[in-house]
């Protein structure tokens, strides 16, 4: 057999083997289990896996469905009935989901098997997955570095061929940034495109669920399955869902596509290797026929400040439900109700979550609401208008996904503000409610000073992500552009050295 080992396959290729009955869902699951047992002790992407339940589903799944028999890894913020849903927090350590989130119900209806839950920053608050209360997940391209976050577990699992595809959530970049740092594809859908019902809320006006995959086609497959109106989420949009896969084929030709290059995105502090890779990607897009035009997003520089006031304000309200009454951790022997709340939350939440609850409570408090929260909400509207103007001229906007490649574990944990700046290119997309995708566009060579001073050559390759932002509900367009770009390069064929699978 010259076929690659099963876990190395992307979803589309795996699904056609399943559909042709060349492999059974059970064989796929067994191969994936062996792969995870082999590699996850190094990467540590998973928090919990239920192979027994998955095997039962594999017995009866219809392989003729679009995702029939494909196991999918799920960020541990999304409820999967009967499985733990901890948000990588101590406060939900023993929580088991009593029901399926709408996205899980839709994945199952498309034949997918949600078999395991992946690590993340606690309550999705972070950009490195280091805020997990459970464990550190490592970047498969360099185990001393972060996989990005907050959907770092799903990203690392897919990058390491320990998952065929995964779901994450993106509130300020938490799908796109880990996809970039781990060298895969990640989509942040338009706000309202995908139901949030059954997804633990962080910032309700920003959160969206989306796919993390090996290829753009796979992302389109998952998007087609999970998008759509849900009466149980009053913010979900009642708009028809196109077949994103069928819309990919443009023969790789981008003639007539106008791509906006915002001058504000070429900021200081952007890694020169990231800039070079993105510049080269823009040239490549041009050679495929796209027209590159200058656009301006003048309020970009305010994005981080706006984001941290609004996201923390919403988080402080959403996390008020963790009071130790109906579910989750409860402090022992409280002397009264205030002691019950105060200690339950002290013991249950980690440092970053506490920090954000404090900031969010503060910006909503009497005397400060207008100065911080309301002002931020108004600047958010200006950011939205910036994009609306840019999209009058451009079909999509191109930028780096992250200003830097994957950083070392521990490198940024002491300074929350530095960590927040990791989202500089992604979080305005959430503020404006538009859609975005990150696709691999090259590699940086890592050469840290400490390594060279010891005479060691550290020449690991670190993935770089290209971000395409699209108009609201224009997912099909950014998927088309990303697909044409991907198919014209070999980047997506690169696998981390760790991921080599012996046949």
């Amino acid at each position: 057999m010259s076929r690659p080992a099963l876990p190395a396959l992307n979803i589309a290729d795996l699904q056609s083997l399943l559909r042709r009955r060349e492999v059974s869902p059970r064989e796929v699951l067994d191969a994936l289990q062996a792969r995870i047992e082999d590699i996850d002790p190094k990467v540590e992407a998973y928090l919990s896996i239920d192979f027994e339940a998955a095997a039962r589903e594999a017995e009866k799944v219809d392989v003729d469905l679009p995702l029939g028999g494909v196991p999918i890894a799920i960020k541990d913020i999304i409820n999967v009935a009967g499985q733990p849903c901890t948000c990588a927090s101590k406060i939900l350590r023993n929580y088991r989901a009593p029901y399926d989130a709408t996205v899980i119900r839709k994945l199952r209806a498309a034949g997918a098997i949600p078999f395991g839950k992946t690590n993340m920053d606690e309550f999705a608050m972070g950009s490195s997955t280091e805020n997990s209360s459970v464990k550190l997940t490592r970047n498969p391209w360099d185990l001393s570095r972060v996989p990005g976050g907050s959907s770092g577990g799903s990203a690392a699992a897919v990058a390491a061929d320990a998952a065929f595809g995964g779901l994450g959530t993106d509130t300020g970049g938490s799908i796109r940034q880990p996809a970039a740092l781990s060298g895969i594809v990640g989509v942040k859908p338009t706000y309202g495109r995908v139901s949030r019902f059954g997804v633990v809320a962080f910032a309700s006006s920003l959160d969206q669920v989306g796919p993390l995959t090996k290829t753009v086609r796979d992302a389109a497959l998952i998007m087609t399955a999970i998008a759509g109106h849900d009466p149980q989420d009053s913010t979900s949009l009642n708009e028809p869902v196109p077949d994103y896969v069928a819309m990919l084929n443009s023969n790789g030709n981008l003639k007539g596509v106008r791509l906006g290059l915002p001058k504000e995105y070429m900021v200081e502090g952007i890694d020169p290797q990231v800039k070079a890779a993105v510049d080269a990607a823009v040239k490549q897009l041009q050679s495929l026929g796209a027209e590159i035009i200058d656009v301006s997003l003048p309020h970009t520089d305010y994005g981080i400040a706006v984001y941290y006031f609004l996201a923390t304000a919403e988080a402080s309200a959403n996390l008020a439900r963790f009071d130790g009454v109906r579910y989750g951790h409860r402090a022992e022997n409280p002397k009264d109700l205030l002691d019950h709340y105060g200690r339950t939350r002290e013991e249950g939440f980690g440092a970053e979550v506490k920090r954000r609850i404090i900031l969010g409570t503060y910006v909503l408090s009497s005397g400060y609401y207008d100065a911080y929260y309301l002002r931020a909400q108004k600047v958010r509207e200006l950011i939205r208008q910036d994009f609306a103007k840019a999209f009058e001229k451009a079909d999509a906007i191109v930028s780096p996904t992250s200003p830097v490649p994957a950083f070392k574990l521990g490198e940024r944990t002491a300074d929350p503000l530095q960590m927040y700046l990791a989202d500089i290119f992604t979080n305005t997309g959430n503020l404006a409610g538009i859609c975005g995708i990150s696709v691999l566009c090259g590699f940086a060579k890592s050469a840290s000073r400490t390594d060279s001073s010891r005479g060691e050559i550290d020449n690991k390759q670190l993935p770089i992500g290209l971000q395409l932002l699209g108009k609201a509900l224009d997912e099909a367009r950014i998927l088309q552009i990303a697909h044409a770009y991907e198919q014209s390069t070999d980047w997506h064929k690169a696998r981390p050295p760790l991921a080599k699978i012996e046949n």
């Binding site: 023993n94 088991r96 009593p98 029901y99 338009t190 706000y191 309202g192 006006s205 009053s234 913010t235 949009l237 305010y302 400040a305 941290y308 006031f309 402080s316 008020a320 009071d323 130790g324 009454v325 109906r326 579910y327 989750g328 951790h329 409860r330 009264d336 109700l337 205030l338 019950h340 709340y341 105060g342 200690r343 939350r345 002290e346 939440f349 440092a351 506490k354 920090r355 609850i357 404090i358 900031l359 503060y362 408090s365 100065a371 911080y372 002002r375 931020a376 909400q377 108004k378 600047v379 958010r380 509207e381 200006l382 994009f387 929350p416 503000l417 409610g433 538009i434 108009k471 609201a472």
Partner: protein
């Protein structure tokens, strides 16, 4: 406009029903003051003619029929309760 030095972490923690250690209070006071100083740049923006809005595609007035439907059983609702008895959540005493 509010000044970053106005932030009193110990007081806000009380509002948030979140106990903090003395060490955490000091650390957050410094870190969040840095965040507020960074965010002071929002004062530069003229927002006098801007209406606060959020979404790219606004959705208004989402209603549904107010009809009973099947949802959780009591058993399911209690399945994650930290403390329960007689099909009820047991809570810390509220009234003296």
């Amino acid at each position: 406009m509010a000044d970053p030095s106005d932030l009193d972490v110990a007081y806000v923690a009380k509002l948030a029903r979140l106990n903090l250690t003395g060490e955490e209070t000091c650390l957050f006071q410094k870190q969040l003051s840095d965040v507020l100083k960074y965010a002071a740049k929002l004062r530069e923006v003229d927002v006098s003619r801007v209406e606060a809005a959020a979404h790219a595609i606004p959705v208004f007035n989402v209603f549904r029929e107010d009809e009973p439907r099947d949802w959780f059983t009591a058993e399911q609702a209690l399945s994650n309760a930290p403390h329960k008895a007689n099909n009820l959540f047991i809570v810390t005493k509220v009234v003296e």
